[in-house]
């Protein structure tokens, strides 16, 4: 299928349009609010909220007997919220550390959710099918009313974030200072957690309980690589989330029975990988280049210094020495010839006869500079 056809379908194909819109919304919302979770070093919160939401979904279905999106989301939100408060409570009142508390609550709630799901599947009722899509997500089941609910709730979450920007910022950077500034930080934290819970449960039907935490953490992790500004970071996280959501939806629509959730997560993982490698300043690739460049500079300087030493023992500073002599002076024999070639190119050394080398006047001056800087350091 060509790109033009995909674009055409995105606009005119009802299913694909709905799925892509829903996935895009989920990417924006979880990306933007996940950034605050990542900055507060609470990446695991996403995992805990999404897993603890599962029994909520099951109970909501058992109570109402219906699979309306709003009911499911409310059930998920209540359970996710209760689970998170439970984690916070355990951390505060016992000696159990936060990671253990998260693991504990997460597995108990998730296990309970699985039991309820199995129970529902065995019920003599035709309407129960499809609830298990919440495990890994099934975006193709998304309908227009689902997307509208997602968009409204997501917009609510993002607008809250924009209104309380300053408060969320100080909560993430220095909450104690926030208290001395007169803000009830506990309240701010509860609001942020609530908004994050909304962002997560909005995406559960599409991405699924198991992989939703990736949509919370990954866009922020990728965005952080590219910028040092909070506003830009959150914008980028939202953008990356949207790109991953839409492209994941399109790719999974092209192949039969390819689950949307994992595909979206693979897309965001690719974005993370590229960001980790290529982002300026923080990217591994540029780090390698920088390190390689520094090492090369170091070897060049060492060769210059060695040649300066050699030149000093002769009256004629342009007295040439064979490359082997210079090599013998160096601890690492490798690379001396290559360095000489590079130095010749920049006009610092000249080759005389076969393989004999001498400093040019320009190289002499450079070597003096190098030696001086070495002396300062030692």
């Amino acid at each position: 299928m060509g790109l033009g056809e995909i674009l055409h379908n995105l606009v005119f194909d009802y299913t694909l349009r709905t799925v892509a819109l829903g996935s895009g919304v989920l990417g924006v919302v979880s990306g933007a609010l996940g950034a605050f979770a990542v900055l507060r070093r609470q990446s695991l919160l996403g995992d805990s909220v999404s897993h603890t939401a599962l029994p909520g979904i099951a109970i909501a279905f058992l109570l109402t007997g219906a699979k309306s999106p709003l009911v499911m989301i409310i059930g998920a939100a209540v359970a996710g919220w209760a689970g998170t408060l439970l984690v916070m409570g355990i951390i505060k009142t016992t000696r159990i550390k936060s990671d253990s508390a998260l693991g504990l609550v997460l597995s108990v709630f998730f296990g309970f959710g699985l039991v309820l799901l199995t129970f529902i599947q065995k019920m003599p009722n035709a309407r129960q099918s499809g609830l298990e899509t919440f495990l890994f997500g099934q975006a193709t089941a998304l309908m227009e009313r689902d997307v509208i609910v997602m968009a409204v709730l997501g917009a609510l979450a993002v607008i809250t974030m924009l209104i309380l920007w300053k408060e969320f910022k100080i909560l993430s950077f220095d909450p104690e200072y926030g208290v001395t500034q007169g803000f009830p930080m506990r309240t701010v934290e509860v609001i942020l957690t609530t908004v994050l819970v909304i962002a997560i449960v909005v995406g559960l039907q599409t991405v699924g309980v198991v992989l939703m935490s990736a949509m919370v953490v990954a866009p922020a992790a990728a965005a952080r690589q590219w910028t040092d500004r909070l506003g830009l970071m959150i914008f980028l996280a939202a953008l990356f989330g949207a790109i991953a959501g839409i492209s994941g939806a399109v790719i999974s629509s092209l192949t039969l029975r390819l689950p949307t959730g994992p595909t979206i997560v693979l897309c965001i993982s690719a974005i993370v990988l590229v960001s980790m490698m290529l982002a300026p300043n923080r990217g591994l690739f540029w780090n390698w280049i920088r390190r390689w460049y520094n090492r090369r500079l170091l070897t060049l300087n060492a060769v210059l210094a060695d040649m300066y030493e050699l030149a000093k023992v002769h009256d004629d500073p342009s007295h040439a020495h064979p490359a082997a002599t210079i090599e013998a002076m160096s601890y690492r024999t490798g690379g001396v010839r290559r360095s000489l070639d590079a130095l010749e190119e920049s006009g610092l050394v000249q080759r005389s006869r076969m393989d004999e080398w001498a400093l040019t006047p320009k190289g002499m001056a450079e070597a003096e500079k190098v030696i001086k800087s070495m002396e300062v350091k030692t």
Binding site: L39, R41, Y177, T180, G182
Partner: protein, 256 residues
């Protein structure tokens, strides 16, 4: 000691007790800080110095006791109190600029929702100038050295325009030059009639930098003008006989 008013109490702590799981961290502390002085709080590790600051600032809920700032509860006087936390208490890799951090000192005055604007920017730049960090205003905070981080925190407290400043180890990990710059800033604040309370760990510099001192080790060992209370007996009480230090000034005073 430039004309402080002994009758005007900047901070008045009575019967303050703080406990973590039944173990007292601070025990029955009474503390009076007259207005317009530079006070050091010294004591061994685990003496509760930081806890004392945090309880005064309402960051830790004490088991018992009362704190008054200029005769009124802290909650009513929050705007008159500036705070410089320990440098290591935040993540310096947070994506924000120096200017942004300093403007956080105005958040309380701004109140909910309202964002810092042009006025806050000007005030923050002015404070950065005072700590000679104005050239760094737009730097990312992770690019700062320890001393620069400390000065940013000081600037953030300065924009609060408070009457009392509480500072937690502002000299920790800074070079001699920054230390001198900070102490002259503190003295400037005192000349402007402000009160400064500093958690300090270097006993050598106490007589040189401060006019009042509180020796703390879970209990309040002694508190008063440096000349009166900063002596060997009190230091031994606070540090449990492990103090080899005695300042030159004090040796002379003992002789006299």
């Amino acid at each position: 000691m430039s004309g402080y008013d002994k009758n005007k109490k900047a901070v008045e702590v009575t019967d303050l007790t703080v406990a973590y799981r039944e173990k007292p961290v601070l025990w029955d502390i009474d503390l009076n800080v007259p207005s317009g002085i530079l006070m050091a709080i010294v004591g061994p590790n685990g003496a509760g110095k930081t806890t004392l600051l945090k309880s005064i600032l309402g960051l830790i809920k004490p088991a018992a006791g009362q704190v008054l700032i200029y005769g009124r509860p802290y909650e009513e006087q929050r705007h008159t109190v500036g705070y410089v936390p320990q440098r290591g208490s935040v993540d310096w890799d947070f994506p924000t600029s120096v200017l942004d951090v300093v403007m956080m000192g105005r958040y309380g005055a701004l109140g909910w929702i309202r964002r810092p604007g042009k006025k806050e920017r000007l005030v923050a730049m002015e404070a950065l100038r005072k700590v000679s960090m104005d050239n760094y205003a737009h730097r990312q905070i992770s690019q700062l050295s320890g001393g620069q981080q400390q000065r940013v925190f000081l600037a953030r407290a300065l924009v609060q325009d408070a009457s009392i400043y509480f500072m937690d180890e502002p000299f920790q990990g800074v070079d001699a030059k920054t230390e001198r710059a900070i102490i002259s800033l503190l003295k400037e604040l005192r000349s402007a009639g402000k009160t400064v309370v500093v958690v300090h760990h270097d006993l050598q510099t106490v007589p040189e930098y401060f006019d009042w001192v509180t020796l703390l080790n879970v209990r309040s060992i002694a508190s008063g003008p440096v000349d009166d209370v900063f002596n060997e007996d009190n230091l031994r009480l606070a540090y449990g006989g492990l103090v080899a230090f005695k300042s030159h000034e004090h040796r002379e005073q003992v002789k006299n």
